[in-house]
C-alpha cells in the first residue's frame, strides 16, 4: 500500500514537472552575439564596371570562355562582345553575325541567348514582329524563326530557349502561349504566364528539363526536354512576374525577383531564399530594372540592370565564405503599404551602411488595403517593445502615437534637414506637438482647384455649392467623375467648415452638403454614365489613396471645375492641361497639402542613430529627385530643377496621351497632356512653399462617410438620415 502511494506521488510529481517544463519551451535564448560570431558565409553583391567606351549593353551569356557581354559599339554601328576574365575585360570582338542581322536583314537586336545546343541565338525586331537569328560559321546571321507568315510577320516573342537537339522554344507574350518547334514543326504547346510586357520571362531550359512560369504567376512547371511530358509543378509562394529563371545542376533551379535569389528543386524538396533582395539591387525596382540574369560557375550569378536614363550596371552575386551571415546591426522599417520612396531610401542607406542589415516590412502587399487589424498587430509589437525602428506613419494613428510617446523627438534632425533645404512649412506643419517634431513627410501631394470661374466659385462653400446645384440643373459641375469621387472629395473639402467648436461635425451642414451632392449627381446624370461606362459597380475610392479627386482625366466639357490632388510633376500634366482648357489658373485648396511617406522613429528603438541616418536618406537628392508617383519632393534643391526641366528637350518629350469618352456626346476624344510651363512650374513651387495646413485623411471617418454616402446615393436613406448616422458614428469615434 505504502509502495503504491509512493509510486502515485512520483507519477504526480513527474506529470506536473513535465507540464511545467513544457511551458518553458523556447524561453531560453542564445545571445545574438554568439549567433553572429558563429555563422559566416552569405551571398554578396559586387559591381563589375562595364568596359570603357562601349555602347549599350544588350545581353550576356556564360560559356566555356566565361562571362561574355554583348554590346553595341559606341556609335551604334555594329555589335561586339567582351569576355570577363581575371577581373578584366578582354578587347572587344566584333559579332559579325549580329551586325549582319542588322545591316543585311534590317533587324535591330533585342536579346542574346546561348542555346543548350551550344549555339548563339538572338532575337531581333523588324517592323513586323520579332525574329530569331542564329550565327552561321561564316559570320552571317540566319533567320531561324520557326513560324513566319508569307509577308514575314511573326508572333510577339518575349522569350526564347533552345534545347540540346536544336528544338526552339518560344514564349509569345500576347496570347500567353509557349510553343516548341523542331525543324519548323510545332511539337509542343501549352499555356504560359500572362505576360505583363514583352520582356516577360516565360520559359527556360536545362539539358533535360524545361521550366515554365505557371499561369498563377507563383508556380513553376517542369517538363521533360525529351518528350515534353509534364514532370512536376512546384509552388514557390513568390511573385514570378518579372522574374528570371536559371537552370542549375542536378534538378536544381534558381529564380530571381525583387525579393531576392531563390533556389528550388524540380521535385519540390527544396525551396529557399539564398540571397535576400534587400541586400541587392534587384530590390530597387523603382530605379533599376533587371534586364538579364544568368548563372556563371558554381552558384555565381550575374545581373544586368538598366534605369530610365539608359544607364547600365553589371552586378555579380557570389558566396563569400568570410562574410558574416548575420550583420551585427539591423535596422527595421515598417509601413502599411509598399513605398517606392522608402525602397529608394533603403538602397541609399545600404550604400552608405553596407554592414547594417535592413529589414523593410509592410502590413500588406500589392493592391491590398490595410485594415484596423494590421494597426492592432503593429500596436501589439510597439507595446511589447519589439516594433520597427522606423515607422512610416501613412495610414497609422499618428496623433495617437505622438500623444502616447511612441514616436521619438526628431526636432534635432528636423533642424538639420531644414538647413539642408527641406521645406520648413512641411517640417513644422505636419507632426508638431508642444514645440517638438515627431515625424517628417518625405513627399507631399498638392490638392488644387481649377476650372471655369463660375464653377470654381461654386466650390467656395457649402452654400455656394448648394446654390449652384439648384440654379444649374442641367450642368455637370465636375469633370469626368463618379458619385463616390465627388462625394468623398466634397466631404474632405468642407470638413473644416462643418466642424463645430466641440470638434464634432454639424449635422445640419453635413445634411446640406449631402443634399447638394445628391443634386450635383442628379444634374450630372452620374447614374446613367456610371452604368454605361464603368466596368464595375465597386467604388474605386479606396484604391486611389487620395483625399481629393473629382476626376481622373481631362474632361471635354466647356464649363466645369475639378479638385485634384497632384502627386508629382508628372501627375501635374493632367491638371495643367485641364486648367489650360478651362482658360484659368489653378489655385491651392484652402492652403492644404497632403503629407505622404511620413517618417517617424520608434521611441523604443534600439537603433536611434541608424534610424535617424535612414531618415536622412529619405531626404537626399538621389531619393527626392526620383519620380515615384508618391508626391512632390520636399527638398528645395530638387524643386528648383523643375522649371529648367519642363523647358528642356527631355521634359518636352515627356507627354502623356489619353483617350477618353465625352459623357455628354458619347464620343471618344484624345488628349495630349504636357508639363506646365516654366512660369507655371515656378508658381506651383511657390504655392507649395506657402501651404500651411496638412490634410491627413482619417481612415475611420472616411470609411464611415463612404459607406453611408453609398446608401444615400442608392436611395436607401435620405440625406438627413445619412447625416444623422454619420454624425452619430463620428461623435462616438471622436468621443473615444
Amino acid at each position: 500500500m505504502k509502495e503504491r502511494k509512493i509510486w502515485k506521488r512520483a507519477a504526480v510529481f513527474m506529470l506536473s514537472s513535465g507540464l511545467i517544463a513544457g511551458m518553458f519551451t523556447g524561453c531560453g535564448r542564445r545571445s545574438q552575439e554568439e549567433k553572429a560570431l558563429q555563422a559566416k558565409g552569405r551571398f554578396v553583391e559586387s559591381e563589375i564596371a562595364l568596359p570603357e567606351g562601349t555602347g549599350r549593353p544588350l545581353g550576356m551569356e556564360y560559356g566555356e570562355e566565361g562571362l561574355r557581354l554583348y554590346t553595341s559599339s559606341a556609335d551604334e554601328q555594329y555589335y561586339q562582345s567582351y569576355i570577363y576574365e581575371n577581373d578584366m575585360w578582354s578587347a572587344p570582338r566584333e559579332e559579325k553575325w549580329l551586325t549582319d542581322g542588322k545591316e543585311r536583314l534590317g533587324m535591330n537586336l533585342v536579346d542574346i541567348y546561348l542555346g543548350r545546343d551550344g549555339k548563339n541565338y538572338a532575337t531581333a525586331e523588324t517592323g513586323q514582329g520579332i525574329h530569331l537569328l542564329t550565327a552561321e560559321e561564316d559570320g552571317t546571321a540566319r533567320d531561324v524563326t520557326p513560324f513566319k507568315e508569307a509577308d514575314q510577320e511573326t508572333a510577339d516573342i518575349s522569350d526564347v530557349t533552345v534545347l540540346r537537339d536544336g528544338t526552339i522554344g518560344i514564349g509569345e507574350y500576347r496570347n500567353a502561349m509557349v510553343e516548341f518547334y523542331k525543324a519548323g514543326e510545332l511539337v509542343f504547346s501549352t499555356e504560359g504566364i500572362q505576360a505583363g510586357s514583352e520582356e516577360q520571362i516565360m520559359l527556360e531550359a536545362s539539358d533535360k528539363t524545361i521550366a515554365l512560369v505557371g499561369q498563377d504567376t507563383t508556380s513553376i512547371e517542369f517538363y521533360s526536354a525529351a518528350d515534353f511530358a509534364k514532370k512536376n509543378t512546384i509552388s514557390t509562394g513568390q511573385n514570378l512576374q518579372d522574374c528570371f529563371l536559371v537552370p542549375g545542376e542536378g534538378g536544381v533551379w534558381y529564380f530571381v525577383n525583387a525579393k531576392g535569389i531563390h533556389r528550388v528543386t524540380e521535385d519540390g524538396s527544396i525551396s529557399e531564399m539564398i540571397m535576400d533582395g534587400i541586400n541587392g539591387m534587384m530590390n530597387n525596382e523603382v530605379t533599376w530594372f533587371l534586364r538579364r540574369f544568368i548563372m556563371g560557375s558554381e552558384e555565381e550569378f550575374y545581373g544586368l540592370y538598366s534605369n530610365a536614363d539608359q544607364d547600365w550596371k553589371l552586378m555579380k552575386y557570389a558566396f563569400d565564405k568570410e562574410a558574416a551571415a548575420f550583420r551585427e546591426e539591423t535596422l527595421r522599417i515598417f509601413s502599411m503599404k509598399e513605398s517606392s520612396t522608402v525602397t529608394l531610401a533603403v538602397n541609399e542607406f545600404k550604400r552608405r551602411y553596407p554592414d547594417v542589415q535592413v529589414e523593410y516590412n509592410t502590413a500588406v502587399t500589392g493592391e491590398e488595403t490595410p485594415t484596423a487589424d494590421h494597426i492592432r498587430t503593429l500596436n501589439a509589437e510597439l507595446l511589447g517593445g519589439s516594433g520597427a525602428d522606423v515607422l512610416i506613419l501613412d495610414g497609422l494613428p499618428m496623433e495617437s502615437y505622438m500623444e502616447k510617446g511612441v514616436l521619438a523627438d526628431l526636432s534635432g534632425l528636423a533642424k538639420g534637414l531644414e538647413q539642408s533645404g527641406v521645406l520648413s512649412n512641411v517640417i513644422e506643419g505636419t507632426a508638431q506637438k508642444d514645440g517638438k517634431i515627431y515625424a517628417i513627410p518625405a513627399r507631399v501631394n498638392i490638392p488644387v482647384l481649377f476650372g471655369t470661374q463660375n464653377e470654381k466659385n461654386a466650390c467656395e462653400s457649402i452654400d455656394s455649392l448648394h446654390a449652384y446645384a439648384q440654379e444649374n440643373p442641367d450642368k455637370r459641375l465636375f469633370g469626368v467623375t463618379s458619385h463616390d469621387l465627388t462625394g468623398m472629395t466634397l466631404f474632405h473639402m468642407f470638413y473644416e467648415e462643418m466642424k463645430t467648436e466641440e470638434g464634432t461635425i454639424s449635422e445640419e451642414k453635413l445634411s446640406s452638403l449631402i443634399s447638394a451632392w445628391m443634386q450635383i449627381s442628379k444634374n450630372g446624370d452620374f447614374q446613367k454614365y456610371e452604368k454605361e461606362y464603368f466596368e464595375s459597380e465597386e467604388s474605386i475610392w479606396p484604391l486611389l489613396d487620395k483625399s481629393f479627386c473629382t476626376s481622373q482625366t481631362v474632361p471635354e466639357e466647356d464649363t466645369y471645375a475639378d479638385v485634384i490632388e497632384m502627386e508629382g510633376l508628372m501627375a501635374s500634366q493632367m491638371v495643367y492641361t485641364g486648367a489650360k482648357k478651362a482658360g484659368n489658373q489653378l489655385q491651392d485648396l484652402k492652403g492644404y497639402y497632403v503629407p505622404k511617406v511620413i517618417a517617424g522613429v520608434n521611441a523604443s528603438s534600439k537603433q536611434p542613430k541608424l534610424s535617424n541616418a535612414f531618415l536622412e536618406c529619405l531626404f537626399t537628392e538621389t531619393v527626392q529627385q526620383t519620380e515615384a508617383w508618391e508626391g512632390f519632393p520636399v527638398l528645395n534643391s530638387v524643386l528648383e530643377t523643375y522649371p529648367d526641366y519642363v523647358e528642356s528637350k527631355e521634359g518636352q518629350k515627356h507627354t502623356m496621351q489619353y483617350s477618353g469618352i465625352n459623357y455628354v456626346t458619347g464620343e471618344r476624344y484624345e488628349e495630349t497632356m504636357t508639363y506646365p510651363t516654366r512660369e507655371e512650374t515656378e508658381a506651383l513651387i511657390a504655392m507649395l512653399k506657402g501651404l500651411k495646413s496638412p490634410f491627413i485623411q482619417d481612415r475611420i471617418i472616411s470609411d464611415t462617410v463612404q459607406k453611408e454616402l453609398e446608401k444615400c446615393y442608392t436611395k436607401k436613406q435620405s440625406p438627413e438620415e445619412t447625416a444623422k448616422v454619420i454624425c452619430r458614428k463620428i461623435d462616438t469615434y471622436l468621443a473615444e
Binding site: 502615437y401 475611420i700 436607401k716
Partner: protein, 282 residues
C-alpha cells in the same frame, strides 16, 4: 486524512493553477499596473486614467448599452432556458434528442453564423425579401435600432441550449423521492414546482447566471463581424470601445476601464456568492 486529500488535490490542480497564474492573473496585474501609468513611456499618473475614463462620453455610452444588453438578455435567457429544461424533463426517453438539437447553435463557428446573419439581415437579404412578398418595406436591420434586437436574438439563440443543459443538470440532482412524497401529500404540479423545484435550483441559478453573464461578453464577436468597429449606437458596447482604444494605443484607458469592470463584476459575483451561501445555510 482530509488535509492529505487536500494536498493531493492541490498537486493535481497545480499545473492548471500555474497556467492560469502565468497567463491570466499575472497579465492582469500588469494591466492594473498600466492603469496608473501613461500608455507608453512609464510616467506615473495616479488615478488620472480612471478619472479620464469615468468622464469619457464613449465609455459611458458603451457601458450603458452593455448594462442594457445584459439587463434584457440575461433574464430572458435564464427564464426561457429554464422553462425549456423543465419541459424537456417531462418528455419521454426518445424525446431527449431535442437537447442535442438546442446545443447545435453553440457548436456553430462564429464565421458561419455571421455569414448566415448577413444573408438574413442584409438590405437584399432573406428577411427583406420575405417582407417584400407581403408588400412591406424592409430595412437595413443592422444599421437601425433593430440591431439591438438582432443581437439579443443572436445571444439567446446561441446560448439557449447551453443554459438548458445546465438547468437540466440542476433539475436532475433533485431527488425523485421528494416529488413522490409531495404527490402523496396531495400537492399539485404548480405547488411541487414552487415549493420543491425552485428552492433547490438557487445554486444552479447562480452558476447558470454567472456562466451566461460571461458568455454575454462573447457576443461581441458576432456584433463586430457583422457591423464593424463602429456599429449602430444601440449595439456599441464596451468591447467595441476596448477594441478601438487598442487601435489608437489608448492602453492606459483600456487598462483603467478593464480594472473597473473587473472590480465591478467581482463585487457582483461576491455578492451573489454571499447570498447563495446565506440561502444554503438557511
Amino acid at each position: 486524512m482530509r488535509k492529505k486529500e487536500e494536498k493531493i488535490a492541490y498537486c493535481f490542480l497545480l499545473p492548471s493553477l500555474f497556467g492560469t497564474t502565468v497567463f491570466i492573473f499575472l497579465p492582469f496585474l500588469d494591466v492594473v499596473r498600466r492603469s496608473f501609468f501613461q500608455a507608453v513611456g512609464g510616467t506615473f499618473v495616479g488615478l488620472g486614467n480612471y478619472r479620464e475614463v469615468l468622464h469619457n462620453a464613449a465609455f459611458l455610452q458603451a457601458l450603458s448599452h452593455t448594462v442594457k444588453f445584459f439587463g434584457i438578455c440575461l433574464p430572458i435567457l435564464l427564464t426561457v432556458s429554464f422553462g425549456m429544461a423543465v419541459g424537456i424533463l417531462q418528455l419521454p426517453g426518445p424525446g431527449k434528442w431535442i437537447e442535442s438539437l438546442f446545443l447545435l447553435p453553440m457548436a456553430l463557428p462564429v464565421a458561419s453564423i455571421v455569414v448566415f446573419w448577413k444573408l438574413l439581415f442584409h438590405d437584399n437579404g432573406g428577411i427583406n425579401q420575405l417582407l417584400s412578398w407581403f408588400g412591406l418595406k424592409g430595412s437595413d436591420w443592422m444599421n437601425t435600432g433593430a440591431a439591438f434586437g438582432v443581437l439579443v436574438g443572436t445571444y439567446i439563440w446561441k446560448n439557449l441550449g447551453y443554459d438548458m443543459i445546465l438547468w437540466l443538470t440542476g433539475l436532475a440532482a433533485i431527488s425523485g423521492e421528494q416529488y413522490e412524497a409531495a404527490k402523496v401529500s396531495g400537492a399539485n404540479r404548480f405547488q411541487i414546482f414552487v415549493y420543491i423545484t425552485l428552492p433547490q435550483m438557487k445554486t444552479c441559478a447562480v452558476m447558470t447566471g454567472i456562466l451566461s453573464f460571461i458568455n454575454a461578453f462573447r457576443v461581441f464577436r458576432e456584433a463586430y463581424l457583422i457591423a464593424g468597429e463602429y456599429p449602430h449606437n444601440s449595439i456599441y458596447m464596451l468591447q467595441h470601445l476596448f477594441y478601438n482604444w487598442f487601435t489608437k494605443l489608448d492602453i492606459q484607458k483600456m487598462s483603467a476601464a478593464a480594472v473597473m469592470l473587473a472590480a465591478g463584476i467581482s463585487i457582483l459575483f461576491l455578492l451573489l456568492e454571499w447570498w447563495n451561501e446565506k440561502e444554503e445555510r438557511q
